[in-house]
């Protein structure tokens, strides 16, 4: 019997057993079946490694990875694990090296992970050393398959993962291309430690229903309501999504919108920012979409909130711990005013963000809430039971889509 087995409720994707958010066996199975399996995971932006020898370290799940720009000008990825005794080869987060040398016994690899030399390979004074039949080419760093999309580099350890463009699909691919329209310019990075299972954060990203309810800044300062036009696109298979809000399109009258929000705690009258430059945004993408939150299964997020653009990577760090990494970007053609606008709007997001700080804590509130209830289930029935595209955000369709993609890979 498979000890990792989870009996999924007969209702399907509209029920999620709480056990999947805390069980160490489930977590270990995920590392193997999802993160080392048939999924593409974001590694770097190609522009982060402009020069040959540039490298950055990251993870597939918890498995350490090196991503390099090779002498051939291409991006390569490999496990950050010496083929000799398993030591980490690159200790720094990023750098530039012509050879990757393990500190333990000076085994050296080229930028594609091929073993180039072994210290004392021939021994000393005719004694010791590697056997005659030891071949360098048999002991490279294990290579990670990479593929690119719109300047984003993804990696997978499975040969079965379909090409990245097919994996992302046209529906969501077009929404990535819409945002990453020019050469990116990194404005800065940050990282957040969340005391919850990684899937609770991914569910939160895919949850179009919560934004104006939990993030009371939106409604308190009249920035956004669910009564604004919008919807959610869910790719075939369910795993990838993009939700959007339209700027100039209201679903109902202002009076009716006020009425709908009247009894919700987040609704307060008469509060205005005294320096509204923070919200001063310009139409950048020419399609009236003011907010777009996009995810690629299992753990990549691309966010456009007005003019604040950021990539987020959700890294599992244990059954109840997650690292959320943020890369904030602008574009090379931004003028000074545009950069300043993005920096001011970055106050909305990140670990201290006006419309995101709650997301850092709410996963932990769930994590604490479900202790002792591992055999019970969450209820995801907003918008019905399906996981398709909908022209409303008052739905949990894209969360159900996540489970639709998750379950077959996990065998649940």
């Amino acid at each position: 019997m498979d000890t990792h087995a989870i009996t999924w409720p007969k209702e399907g994707n509209s029920r999620v057993p709480y056990r999947v958010f805390s069980d160490p066996d489930v977590y270990r199975a995920e590392l193997e079946r999802l993160f080392l399996g048939r999924t593409w995971q974001f590694l770097v932006m190609a522009d982060e490694l402009p020069n040959p020898g540039d490298y950055k370290t990251t993870f597939l799940g918890e498995t350490p990875i090196i991503v390099t720009r090779g002498e051939d000008g291409e991006i390569h990825a490999m496990l950050n694990r010496c083929a000799h005794r398993g030591n980490l080869v690159c200790l720094k987060r990023q750098g530039n090296e012509s050879l990757l040398t393990c500190v333990y016994h000076s085994w050296s690899y080229d930028l594609q992970g091929n073993l180039k030399s072994v210290a004392f390979r021939r021994g000393i004074a005719g004694k010791g050393g590697m056997p005659e039949d030891f071949r360098l080419e048999d002991h490279g760093l294990r290579k990670v398959r990479t593929d690119h999309f719109a300047g984003l580099v993804f990696g997978t350890l499975s040969e079965e993962t379909p090409p990245l463009a097919d994996y992302i699909g046209n529906l969501i691919g077009a929404r990535i291309g819409r945002v990453l329209r020019a050469k990116p310019k990194i404005l800065g990075t940050t990282s957040q430690i969340l005391h919850n299972n990684w899937k609770l954060y991914v569910e939160n990203v895919k949850d179009t229903y919560h934004a104006t309810l939990l993030h009371t800044f939106f409604t308190t300062f009249n920035v956004s309501r669910l009564t604004a036009g919008g919807g959610v696109l869910v790719a075939e298979g369910g795993g990838n999504h993009a939700s959007y809000t339209r700027g100039k399109h209201e679903l109902v009258s202002r009076a009716d919108s006020d009425k709908l929000y009247a009894n919700i705690q987040s609704m307060r009258d008469g509060v205005r920012l005294s320096d509204p430059r923070l919200l001063d945004s310009v139409e950048e993408f020419g399609d009236d979409v003011t907010v777009q939150i996009l995810s690629v299964f299992p753990n990549f997020v691309l966010q456009q909130i007005n003019n604040s653009v950021a990539l987020r990577l959700v890294l599992p760090k244990g059954p109840e711990k997650t690292e959320l990494q943020w890369i904030y970007i602008g574009f090379e053609d931004d003028d000074e005013a545009m950069t300043e606008r993005r920096l001011l709007q970055s106050n909305l997001v990140g670990p201290a963000g006006y419309v995101s700080m709650e997301d850092g804590a709410v996963g932990n509130f769930v994590q604490r809430g479900i202790v002792g209830s591992e055999d019970e289930y969450s209820v995801l029935e907003m918008g019905g039971h399906g996981h398709g595209t909908e022209e409303t955000r008052t739905t949990e369709a894209s969360i159900r889509g996540f489970w639709q993609a998750y379950r077959p890979l996990m065998g649940y």
Partner: protein, 159 residues
């Protein structure tokens, strides 16, 4: 140090002491008063700071924006009750020019949650410019440079 320099140093140490007590006593409404009107306040990581990257985890460019941050924390944002204890030390005075007097100081911030759980929430340095206004020192610029790139859970209240 001349008597004038000693007096100035004592005044500045008092400024940082008052600033820390203001935050730790949860008198956030008074926090903007430590700044000039067209101030700059940023919380960033040492990594971003060293790379010259402009991003702030918090990035505010007027005293009114500081007041807005406090209003949002009071009226809009949701976070578990918590308090800070700032320990500020190792003052260094630097250049004194058109931008004001450069001051750097180290800080440690211990965060205590409502259930009593305590953690070393932040360590780093203030990289500031202070100016005299109406016989009082005010912050013209404050870069809160965190040694770590990681924020535990969330950062609501100012540092």
């Amino acid at each position: 140090m001349t008597p004038g320099e000693v007096a100035r140093r004592l005044e500045l140490e008092a400024l940082y002491t008052d600033y820390a007590y203001c935050l730790d006593d949860d008198r956030l409404e008074e926090w903007p008063d430590f700044f000039v009107e067209d101030c700059y306040y940023r919380i960033t990581s040492a990594e971003n700071f060293a790379a010259g990257l402009p991003l702030g985890i918090v990035y505010l460019t007027s005293r009114a924006m500081l007041a807005d941050r406090v209003m949002a924390l009071r009226k809009a944002n949701i976070y578990e009750p918590q308090c800070y204890r700032h320990l500020v030390s190792s003052f260094k005075l630097g250049a004194d020019d058109a931008d004001g007097l450069a001051v750097t100081a180290n800080f440690l911030v211990i965060r205590t949650m409502q259930d009593g759980a305590m953690s070393l929430f932040a360590a780093g340095r203030y990289v500031d410019r202070v100016v005299r206004r109406d016989n009082t020192w005010k912050f013209a610029r404050k870069d809160v440079v965190l040694d770590s790139r990681q924020i535990d859970t969330l950062l609501a209240m100012p540092l």
